[in-house]
Amino acid sequence: MTAPLLEVRKLIKSFPGVRALKSVNLTLGKGEVLAVIGENGAGKSTLMKILAGVQRPDSGEIALDGSPIEFRNVHGALRAGIALIHQELNLADNLDVAANIFLGREPLKIGLIDTARMRREARKFLEAVGLVVDPATLVSTLTLGHQQLVEIAKALSVNARVLIMDEPTSSLSSHEAENLFKVIRDLKSRGVSLVYVSHRLGEVRALADRVTVLRDGENAGDLERDEIDHSRMVKLMVGRDLSQFYPHVPRKPGEVMLKVERLQTRAHPRYALSFQVCAGEIVGVAGLVGAGRTELLEALFGVMPAVGGVMRIGGCTLAPTSPREAIAAGLALVPEDRKKQGVILEMAVRENLCLARLRRDHRLGFFSPGGIATLSADMVAALRIKTPHDRQVVQFLSGGNQQKVVLGKWLALKPKVLLMDEPTRGVDIGAKQEIYRLMEELADQGVAILFVSSEMEEILGMSDRALVLHEGRLAGELARGALSEEAVMHLATGSERLSA
């Protein structure tokens, strides 16, 4: 390889309560597609944000073309030719395509926006990404795949030499994804370098010239083109063989705990979902972003009440219209957005742990401070929550320990069915394994677990059975024996043939 275009040395970044990057190196050659992979919480997103100038590192060096550079903000990075395309797209969808491409750099004529010229120029960049739409089209009317191409066109319009793509296919259909791969290969042949962050190892195998694996904020290893295969990647990501990382032991399922009958979520009322989860069973829910996975859990938990259908738990049949009713029936939900929905950041560990339980333990509305202290101490010990004391404000705990607080809040209620939405998002690898172990313990105790995950390895490693959703429809159900990345993706993308 010739002299690298972009070189990162010993990058360190801390946030309150967590070290996101302990010391990370990365090199990127001209016209190279570098895949950066790692489990949730490995530090990929932080690294990408630093490269794009969204965040600033605590220490470390970034060199472009051999000379060290430092960005104060996104503008600085863009000027240097580095553009980030976020997982959630950053387009103003009330403006048209051309206005988005030139946002902040509008061509002017006597102080006013020169719309004609802007649209003319925009057409050039749209051609480069193979997108055939009128530059005057409102962005909100485009599909997600097309919006992503607009973002890429925008990056090209600032002469980006390095394009960072964070999980670009997480919300694309298989057809849109294939189109994106074509654009990526085309950009590469024109000398643009790409950093490609993905959970989808199949895509990585198909696209990447080289793979850099991160684990827990550090480099776990690099793979050259001819070394890239599934098991090597996984081994580097989790630090050991898969079978050791996921402690899952299939057990004999007990009686049916949760039976969902013809449930219609508000987001996808056209489809009725029916399935069941047994005591001691761990069922994964897979699907692309927007497939309706979170909506399914929220309907079951009464956050977004279903528009049709019922569920049966134990003896009772209900269609909860509030979390209160769902909790009373024996459900618990570890929500997707921990900081907004899971914990109350400014409250102490103790208060968070007892929040759901208060309703049961009061006498004439008064709670017993002693009882709360005991319950909290029990939960901190049982879940091994790392905190100096249970009066500590949850905000200052690491992501993994915050997630354990959420779990503890529910375990105090002894739920029959535990719903988990991305249970290991943003937690470090140690806490991740502890959460898996807790899931196993709960299943042993006869709790039925239904969990949503975007991480393929997690679905494959932890489920007895997986439900795969595609655009709101239950596309299929895979027993453990039939579980594979290809099988899940096949159903999740709704494709007729296997892609990538």
Binding site: V303, S322, R324, K340, G365, F367, F396
Partner: protein
């Protein structure tokens, strides 16, 4: 606790300064008056604290004070209602107003600022309407009812100072409020939903019902305060009775350590905050000869107070984060 200490020191300093600058500050008459005003305003402040805890705001308090302050003598003297039925009517009306605010805010998802701003205009307008802008009062009647506000409780061993009756009401209201907020599950729910409404709802808390309750408490105490105010001064002018009282109440709560972002409140702090506001007003009257700068001084003091508080808080957060990180990396 640190916050209460800070504001207590500030209160003590203002008291000492005023006592040194003016001989009449420590006179029995002035102190009695001061305590009475503090007690009356304190009831309003405790009420608005519940709304502030949820992260909301109640701008209608002054107008509810006016509505009740005019309505009570109007029902008693113009319409000859009996005392119990008139008192019941104005208190029920106040609670109903709070309930309506709560419903609009939770069910229709209107913003508290807008709902209670409309309330501010509406209730004063109604009071001015039914009184036809005429001053209403009790005249020389209703002496026994008026002792609720004007009565005095002689203290043993202290001459020249008697505890004003409203102080007893404030004590009862404040103790009940403090117990409710800190010792019952409902108080805990209010604190939780004020911090993070969504997480509270995901934890199975009926956040709508709790929010409605907060507005009912605020308006009910505003009505109760309004009743005591009019009993105290004997008559009410609908044009300006209770004018700006919501702002005094909110300012006292903020001085007393409530965050307008919600989830944070101590009743004791709120009462000390109220006292501070009243002593400041008293100081301006006694020490300066210019009453017209009252608002400027109060505004400046509150602003300095919240700026100091914010700076201290930022410093504390930084130190805490650094310590947590040290533990994380040190302890593994």
């Amino acid at each position: 606790m640190k916050k209460i200490l800070g504001i207590s020191i500030l209160l003590a300093v203002v008291c000492v300064v005023t006592a040194l600058a003016s001989d009449s500050f420590l006179s029995g008459y002035n102190l009695e008056n001061l305590v009475r005003r503090t007690a009356l305003f304190g009831i309003l402040s405790v009420g608005v604290t519940f709304v502030i805890v949820t992260g909301g705001i109640d701008l209608s308090i002054g107008s509810v004070v006016c509505l009740v302050g005019c309505g009570l003598p109007w029902l008693l003297t113009k319409h000859g209602w009996s005392v119990p039925s008139a008192v019941f009517a104005v208190m029920a009306l106040s609670a109903g107003i709070g309930w309506a605010h709560g419903l609009l805010i939770t069910k229709l998802k209107l913003q508290p600022f807008v709902v209670t701003l409309c309330g501010l205009l509406l209730y004063r307008g109604i009071a001015r309407g039914f009184t036809n802008d005429q001053t209403v009062g009790f005249g020389t009647g209703f002496r026994s009812l008026r002792t609720l506000a004007t009565g005095q409780i002689k203290l043993p061993f202290i001459d020249g100072f008697a505890l004003p009756a409203p102080w007893v009401f404030l004590l009862v209201v404040a103790v009940a409020a403090a117990i409710f907020l800190n010792r019952t599950i409902y108080g805990r729910y209010l604190l939780a939903l004020g911090r993070n409404e969504e997480a509270a709802r995901y934890s199975g808390i009926n956040t709508e019902r709790m929010t409605i309750l907060a507005y009912v408490i605020s308006s009910t105490l505003a009505g109760f305060g309004g009743m005591l105010f009019v009993l105290d001064v004997n008559s009410a002018q609908p044009v300006d009775f209770g004018n700006f009282y919501e702002l005094y109440a909110i300012a006292a709560a903020v001085l007393g350590g409530c965050s307008l972002r919600g989830g944070e409140a101590t009743i004791l702090g709120v009462i000390i905050g109220t006292a501070l506001m009243q002593v400041l007003r008293n100081m301006i009257t006694l020490v300066t000869t210019r009453n017209n700068i009252e608002f400027a001084i109060i505004g400046a003091v509150i602003l300095i107070g919240v700026i100091a508080d914010e700076l201290v808080k930022r410093y504390a957060v930084r130190r805490r984060a650094a310590r947590a990180l040290a533990q994380e990396t040190g302890g593994g």
